[in-house]
Amino acid sequence: MIEILSIFLLCLTVITAVAVIRARSLFTAVMLMGIFSLLMAAAFLLLDAADVALTEAAVGAGISTVLMLSALALTASKERVEHVRFGVAVIVCTVLAGAIFYATFDKPPLGDPNAPVHQHVAPEFFSITREEIGIPNVVTAILGSFRGYDTLGEVIVVLTAGIGVLFLIGGTAPMGQVSPSSGDQTIRGLRHHQPLRVIAKWAIPFIMIFAFYVQFHGEYSPGGGFQAGALFAAAIILYGLIEGHRRSVQVIPPAVLRAMAAGGALLYGAVGVVTMLMGGNFLEYRVLHENSTTAQQMGIILIEAGVGITVAGVLLAIFHAFAARDRA
C-alpha cells in the first residue's frame, strides 16, 4: 500500500517538474516548485526519511518559496519567449538518461536489506548509538556526533552563503534604481486584513513553540537544529508578511541576526575547542562529562543549538536582505 502511494506521489512529482520547466510565467513556475517540494517531502516520508521530510517541508516548501517570491518581486515575473537550442539539449538529455537508466538495472532493488549501502557503517551507527549515545533518533546522533565535522562544515557553508547574500544585496540599492513602490508604505504587508492579523498573531507563538519543540525534542522525534532554525525563521517571516518588513526588522534587528548567524557557528566551533582544551580531540564529546552517555548528549544538544541559531539567523538575514531591497 505504502509502495503504491509512494509511486503515485512520485508520478505527480514528475508531472509537476515538467510543468515547472514548461511554465511561461515565472510566478507559476515558483508556485509549482512549492507544490513540487511538498510532494517530494511526502515521498521522502514514505521512504522512511522523517527528518528529511521535515526539513524539506520547512525549508523547501516554505522558506524557498518565500525567497523565490521575494526575488521575483525584484525581477521580472514573466519569462521572455526565448529561442532555444532544443536539438542539442534533447540529444544530450536522451543520451545521459539512457546511460543512467541503463545503470539503474545494476542497482539492488529498492529496499533490499543486502544492498552494499546497508552493510558497512549503518549497523555500527545503530549499535554505537544504542550503547554510547542513548538517544532514540539515530539521525540526530549521526548528525551531531558521528558526522560532527561534516555538520560543522555544512553550518559554515550556510553561514558563508548568508554572508555572500548580504554582500550582494545587503546594502542599499544603487541610486536611480528606486522602485516605484517606495512611497506607499501603508499598503505593504497584509496589515489591513484584520482576520489575517488575528490568526497570524495567534499562530506565530504557536509556530515558535513548535520550532523549540523540534529543536529540543529532536533527540527523540524527527527534528533538530536545521528544521528548528527553518521553522523559527518561518515564524518571523510570517510576522514580516503580516506586519510589513519594517516592523519585523524592529523585532529582530539585522545586527542581532548577523550575531545569531555567526554566534551559532561560533558555539559549534567553541564546543570543539572546549573538548580539545579538556584533553580530547576536536568535537570529542566524551570529555565533557564523566558519564560518557551524558557527555554525548550534552555535546549533541549544544551543537544542535548552534546549528539552529545559525540557520535561523542566516535564513532571516537573507529574507530581510531581499525584503529591504524591495523597498529601497
Partner: protein
C-alpha cells in the same frame, strides 16, 4: 508489481534529473535555470533517500526502546538533511546574483545575447 516497485524510484530519479538538466540547458531565463537546478538537486536527494530504504524497515527513530526492529539506513538521510539546508542557502545566493544582474542589465533573460551589453 515487484518488478515495477524494485527500480521505479531510480527511474523517477533519472527522469527528474533529466528534466532539471534540460531546464538548465534550454531556458535562458536565469530564474528558470535556478528552478531547473532545484529540480536537479531534488532528484539527487531522491536517489540518496531511495538507497537508504530497507524493505519492511521504519524510520531510524527508535520507538519505545525497541532497538531490534528493522530500520532504514540513517546515513543517507543525514547527508540529505544537511544538503537541503545548504541547497536553500546556495539557492538564495543564486537569487541574490539574479537580482544584481537584473539591476545591472535590466533583465534576466538571455544575458549572453550581444544586445545585453550596455
Amino acid at each position: 508489481m515487484s518488478a515495477l516497485t524494485d527500480l521505479f524510484h531510480y527511474w523517477v530519479f533519472v527522469v527528474l534529473l533529466m528534466i532539471g538538466f534540460y531546464g538548465v540547458m534550454t531556458r535562458s531565463n536565469l530564474m528558470k535555470k535556478l528552478l531547473g537546478l532545484s529540480i536537479f538537486q531534488s532528484a539527487v536527494f531522491l536517489l540518496f533517500i531511495s538507497m537508504g530504504k530497507v524493505e519492511g524497515g521504519t524510520a531510524p527513530i527508535v520507538l519505545d526502546g525497541n532497538w531490534d526492529a528493522t530500520f532504514s539506513n540513517p546515513l543517507p538521510q543525514v547527508l540529505i538533511l544537511t544538503a537541503i539546508v545548504v541547497g536553500i542557502s546556495t539557492l538564495a545566493l543564486g537569487l541574490a546574483l539574479v537580482v544584481r544582474i537584473k539591476e545591472a542589465y535590466g533583465r534576466i533573460d538571455d544575458i549572453d545575447a550581444p544586445e545585453a551589453e550596455s
